[in-house]
Structure formats: structure tokens, C-alpha cells
Symmetry: C2
Subunit: 276 residues, 2 copies
DNA sequence: TCAGGCTCTTTCATTTCTGAAAGTCCGGCT
DNA sequence: AGCCGGACTTTCAGAAATGAAAGAGCCTGA
């Protein structure tokens, strides 16, 4: 026995509420004959009499009341739909990036996005690599061109790294613990200053705060160091400099909200704000 | 702009879940061409692209994800429907009666109802008169034949009243407070034993408990007195004897659940249990 | 490079659904 | 009594939706 058509249930609720075919027809824009037939079909499919048909209209039977309770959730769906139609919910574009870029985007996007933009950003936290190929995110900001040919990539500005500290007199380095996120900057630090590491933090955000309080030096992207009252100690570390790539699924990038988000991000990342 | 067909949204969810037309077609029993057309129509009606159509199938766009969240409630409705189809919810027949009869029915109906009965009783508490004409209840048990011609009524057994007390030595009467429910038995008590009333209770159920503890005499239907270790003090009060009428809406009584409940109640009330 | 397999879309005859109008029923009103 | 009005159902021609089959595009593996 097949389940009934959800639209029949919508009409069923309308008839139950209206108490008759005529007013239900007016309320739903469906003609009375159609309502009559579809209610009859619904009863046949469920094998229950749902209405008492009297000269005064349709009245629910006990079984009809029971069904009406069961499908009352449709009312809520209809209400949400109606709301959606009148003031459409903005689609959310899922963006994933590394720690510093995520923070930068989260902070800047509120103002950088056009006020009438037809999309809303959703930042997907991702130390672990979120897979755009599997559609876990719409847009990714990565430090290299993706291998997969079905990815669309756009190069934006270069990211430069340097050593930062509260002031030039501070010595010693703050690193991530061994075995934690294996980033190029972490590897560089351990390769060149392993012996100078004075402490570790479980998260680079904490490391930066520790550096800001004078506990040691950290390796940061230049734009992230500039944000936090830290001074750049040495020159830009050329070995770590890399371009940022704006990556999206090849099929997905023509979705208007995604496209708008891509353009907005390209503008934002190309902006002088990010340059050292 | 009209709202989309709810059944289209059901198919939309199926396609979104399946990630493609083929498997969605298998899951829903609808053919792939139909799904293709209806998804296209849905997009046209909403004026949004809901899917990315690639050679790998359908993938939701940002707008599609947003819609899927909005209509997720349909899943719950479908689940309830499926449950209803497999193990049908029994329709509830709303029964209204006076205090003592309600209690009697509530206690007896569990066993009196056939084990495979296709209905479940719902006792509608009603000191105030619940209106069967307005379909607030399906079946009423009343103490007289209804005036309205569209009511169907079936006479059952006569109800007899008598004075009860814990033992014959108890004197004094327990009544309802002045101005409380104006029942024939209450009026009779005040008319004949006004001066012997020793106390009042806000509810006859309390009055009966008070009588059972020996505080005074009460006027009760004979079947209600017998239930509670009370002894009948005087003869049946002929002035209060009346028949019970099983009342239902004329149109409603052919609804199978209502009809079954009517038959069951007629049997129950005709049963010797109710006789003094 | 090409066949094979997968997916979606189009075509088209068929089925189903729809709505206006006419028909039926029933209670209320004069 | 008999007409009126409201409410549902049936009729019927036209409109819309459906599914099988064929078409088109794309990746995969040989």
C-alpha cells in the first residue's frame, strides 16, 4: 500500500480547516470537484473514512482527526515556505580556509560583502582539510594549486611569513607541540630553531597571545602579526612565502551565490589590507 | 507567485539525498524523466537554481541546501505517515458523560472494549455540557433525550439514586456548595435535607470519599455507591430515577469507529454491572 | 582513440487530472 | 407545499503529467 501524495494531505488539511469544499476551494485555489475527488481518493488509499459528508459540509471523523494530527507538521512547512517566498532566506556559501585567513575573512567579510548580496558566508573551521571535491564546502582558500583537474582555482596574493615578538629583545620561540598540525611554518621553525623553543601552545591563536604577552617569538603570516601589536623581528622568510589559491568545485562556481562569494573574496584578498 | 507543490518538495528531498535522478527514481517509484521535469519546474517556480547538474549526478547549490533545511520537516511527516500506514494509529472517539458515568466508563472500557477494536476512547471531562452538535465530542451520555432532531439517541438503562453512608448510624449530609454544579440530585438534597447538611465538598468525588470515611451521608447513583464500601441507607429516590441516553451526532454515528464505540457503550451500560 | 557505462534530457503516445457546467440532494423559507 | 440557496458530485472535453524509449554528454578503462 503506497503512501499518499503529500499534496493531497495539504488539501486534506485545508478541507478539514475550512469545514467544507467550497471555502477550501477558495482558500487553496483548487476547484471543488478536484477537492472532492482527491479527498475520496485519499480515503480510498488509506482505507478509512476521513470525513462525514453532510449537507452542511465536511466534518472530520475520528480517523480524520487522527490523520490531521499526524500531518500537522505540514502546516509548519507551508508557513516556512511562505516566509521563504516573501523574504527569501539567503543561501549560505560555505568557505573553508586556514586559521589566519579564516579569522581575517570572518572579520572583514561583514563589511566587504555588498549590502544587497544574495548570499551569506558560512565559515567552516578546518585545520583538517575539508574536502571541496566531496562538496563539504563551496569555496576553499588553499596554499597551493589543487591537483584535481575538476577544481577551479584562482591565484590571489602571496602570503609572507616572518618572526614576530612583543619587542626585539625577546628571545626563544613558541611552537606547536610535536605531532600537532604539521604546517610549513611549523616545520621551518623546528628545522631552524628547534633548540630555541621555550614552550608550546596547542593552537597558533594561543601562541600569538603568548607572544603578545612577551613569552617568546612566533612565526606568523605578516598580516596576522601586524594585527596584534607584535613587531616583526627578522626579514620575510622566503622559504615560506606562497600564493593563496581561491579554490572551488568546477561545477559549483557558476552557482550565482558561489560566484558572488568568489568575486567578493577575490576582491578582499587582493586588497591592500592583506599586504604587509 | 504561487507556492510550490508539496509533493515536488518531497521529490526534491529524495533527489538531494540520493544525489542523482536514477537512485532517487528507484527510491521514490517515480521515473527519472518525471523527476528531471519536476526539479526543473521547481527551480523555475522558486526562481533559483537548486542543483548543479553534472555528469556525476545532482548536487545541491547553496540555495538548494537552504531549501532543503527549510523543508526538512517533510521528512518527519513522511515518517509519521509511514508509521501510520504500517501500524495504523487508532482513531480516538471522544466520549463525554457526567462524573459517575465517566468514571465508570474509564474503569470498565479497558476490558469491555474488544481487544481488536479499531478505536480508542477519549474521555472528555465535562461538568459543563460539551456540545455534540458542534462536534466537540462524538458520543455523549446524557440524562435525557436531546431536543435537537439531528441528534441520534439510544436509551440505555435507568439510573437510580439513593442515600449512602459508611454505616446506617451516620447522620448528616454532605452536599456540594451552594451555587456549585446544579444537578438534580443536588437540588433534591437541598430540597429535602437542607437543614441536615453538615459540610460541603467542591466535587462529588471528594464528597464520596468523605462519606466513606464516615463524615456523613451522600446521594449517589446506586452503582457509584456500591463501588466504594458504602451502604445504601434509604430506598431508591424515585424522583431522581432517569434513563441514560447514548447521544451522538446523526451524521457521525455511521463512522465505523464511532459506531463501534456506540455498540460497546450500549453493551457496557446495558450490562448488569450498572444495575444496583 | 574508442567502446562501454553512467547520467541526465527529449520525444511522443498514453494516461491521468483538471475545471466549467450541469446534476443531485437537502434543509430552510415563504 | 413548493421554491430557493448552498453544498457536494458527476459529466465531459481539454490540459497536463507520466513513463518507455531514444538521444546526448561525459568519464573510464582498454
Amino acid at each position: 500500500m503506497k503512501e499518499p501524495d503529500l499534496d493531497d494531505l495539504r488539501l486534506f488539511l485545508a478541507v478539514a480547516d475550512a469545514g467544507g469544499l467550497g471555502s477550501a476551494a477558495r482558500a487553496t485555489g483548487t476547484s471543488a470537484p478536484t477537492l472532492s475527488r482527491r479527498m475520496a481518493a485519499l480515503e480510498r488509499r488509506l482505507n478509512e473514512r476521513l470525513f462525514e459528508r453532510g449537507p452542511r459540509g465536511y466534518a472530520l471523523t475520528a480517523a480524520g482527526r487522527s490523520l490531521a494530527e499526524d500531518v500537522a507538521g505540514l502546516r509548519q512547512v507551508q508557513a516556512r515556505l511562505a516566509r521563504r517566498m516573501s523574504s527569501p532566506t539567503l543561501p549560505r556559501v560555505r568557505i573553508t580556509a586556514g586559521l589566519w585567513t579564516s579569522r581575517f575573512i570572518a572579520r572583514q567579510l561583514g563589511t566587504a560583502r555588498a549590502p544587497d548580496a544574495a548570499w551569506v558566508p558560512e565559515i567552516v573551521a578546518s585545520n583538517a582539510t575539508v574536502d571541496i571535491a566531496r562538496r563539504e564546502a563551496d569555496i576553499g582558500i588553499r596554499n597551493r594549486r589543487p591537483d584535481q583537474p575538476w577544481m577551479a582555482a584562482r591565484r590571489t596574493i602571496p602570503i609572507r611569513y616572518a618572526v614576530f615578538a612583543k619587542n626585539p629583545d625577546i628571545t626563544g620561540y613558541i611552537a606547536l607541540p610535536r605531532g600537532a598540525a604539521d604546517t610549513p611554518s611549523g616545520r621551518w621553525l623546528r628545522a631552524h630553531h628547534e633548540s630555541e623553543i621555550v614552550t608550546t601552545a596547542s593552537d597558533m591563536a594561543f601562541a600569538r597571545e603568548m607572544a603578545a604577552s612577551g613569552l617568546g617569538r612566533v612565526v606568523l603570516p605578516t598580516f596576522a602579526g601586524a594585527e596584534c601589536d607584535l613587531v616583526q623581528i627578522g626579514p620575510v622568510i622566503d622559504a615560506l612565502t606562497h600564493d593563496e589559491w581561491l579554490v572551488s568545485h568546477h561545477d559549483g562556481r557558476h552557482d550565482p551565490p558561489v560566484r558572488a562569494a568568489l568575486d567578493c573574496l577575490a576582491g578582499l584578498l587582493g586588497d591592500a589590507t592583506l599586504r604587509p
